[in-house]
């Protein structure tokens, strides 16, 4: 009998201790600070942007084209830019965490030369289930998607060889690391990282700067 009491009391005590420690930890973490060096890494001039450059609020999104949540968020963030008409700018950065994602990023970047960047990006994200299975990326399945989006595939394959694209990806990956991006999508609103993930918290953070 005593033993049972000991076990049950220990369970209760340990769970209370866990919750207390979690609260303490969260309280100690709630003020995210970014160094000047980190801030400088947020928005390189080459990064694709949507919305005016003098917008009041800038939303930086690190994303992986093969990430399901990123595909879900993409139309939402674009809608936000529209909704805030001129007051919000979206800056996209790559965080190709999935194996094979890099090739798809190359495709998207190469579509820039044809002026089809956003078309290629939204087509690929919208049809993600056709070229990503169980977190495995099949880049060759992305070609028909791009073709349907009106991208010239021959020219795209040529443009993908541009070493500048590799440099852009390498820079994005390095910046992501320096900024502590470990999950996608990762958002920064006017340089402040989104702490609690979710669409509502993101909107709240944007609103707080409006």
């Amino acid at each position: 009998m005593n033993q049972r009491l000991l076990v049950v009391a220990s369970v209760v005590l340990l769970i209370v201790a866990f919750m207390f420690a979690a609260k303490q930890y969260q309280a100690s973490q709630s003020a995210p600070t970014m160094s000047k060096e980190q801030q400088a890494r947020l928005m390189p001039s080459y990064a694709p942007t949507l919305g005016p450059s003098d917008a009041k609020v800038t939303l930086v999104e690190f994303f992986d084209p093969a990430c399901g949540t990123c595909a879900q968020f993409s139309p939402l963030t674009k809608a936000l830019v529209k909704e805030y008409g001129g007051k919000l700018r979206l800056v996209l950065r790559y965080a190709p965490f999935h194996e094979g994602s890099e090739t798809v990023v190359q495709m998207i970047e190469a579509a820039k030369a044809q002026g089809k960047y956003w078309e290629a990006l939204s087509a690929l994200l919208a049809s993600q289930q056709t070229w990503v299975f169980n977190h495995r990326v099949f880049p060759e399945r992305a070609w028909p998607v791009l073709e349907q989006a009106g991208v010239d595939i021959v020219a795209l394959k040529e443009a993908m060889k541009d070493p500048k694209i590799q440099a852009i990806i390498a820079q994005d990956v390095a910046d992501g690391k320096a900024l502590g991006v470990s999950k996608t999508p990762s958002f920064f609103v006017n340089g402040t990282p989104l702490e609690r993930f979710g669409y509502e918290p993101l909107v709240q953070l944007i609103k707080s700067y409006m």
């Binding site: 033993q3 049972r4 076990v7 220990s10 340990l14 866990f18 420690a21 930890y25 965490f97």
Partner: protein
């Protein structure tokens, strides 16, 4: 006599429970992403809480200890492997780690040597030691 014996098992259960909550703290509160090897060790650690707990709450104490022992041993082997990996004695290529978090990444390092796999190894060692002591006393 029976009461004293169970203290060993209670200790093993306590270590398993603290380890379980500790690992959950690392992943859920501090947001460390567990690597593949960490998951294998979790698979061995978490059930010990229930198996040993059930043993302590019922009369099946000895049976629970016997069930828990091989599970704890398998966890110990994986923790030892992970610790050697961190120490650089085994190279990363030999690790069953996929894309994501490589198992050679060190999230914490207390006093220069206490990393998460070291904590895991210590936990499994204490649990195994306590169970063995208990079973030896019982069989006597």
């Amino acid at each position: 006599m029976a009461k004293k014996l169970h203290l060993f098992l209670f200790f093993a259960w306590l270590v398993a429970t603290v380890s379980t909550l500790g690992s959950l703290f690392f992943s859920e509160v501090m947001a460390f992403i567990p690597c593949t090897l960490c998951w294998y060790q979790r698979i061995a650690m978490y059930p010990l809480v229930f198996i040993l707990g059930q043993g302590l709450l019922t009369k099946e104490t000895t049976a629970s200890a016997k069930i828990a022992l091989p599970i704890a041993l398998s966890g110990w082997v994986m923790a030892a492997y992970h610790t050697l990996l961190h120490a650089g004695i085994i190279s990363e290529e030999a690790v069953p780690c996929s894309q994501g978090v490589p198992c050679s990444v060190k999230y914490i390092e207390w006093f220069g040597f206490v990393s998460i796999p070291v904590l895991s190894l210590a936990g499994f060692s204490l649990i195994i030691g306590a169970i063995v002591l208990y079973l030896r006393r019982v069989s006597r």
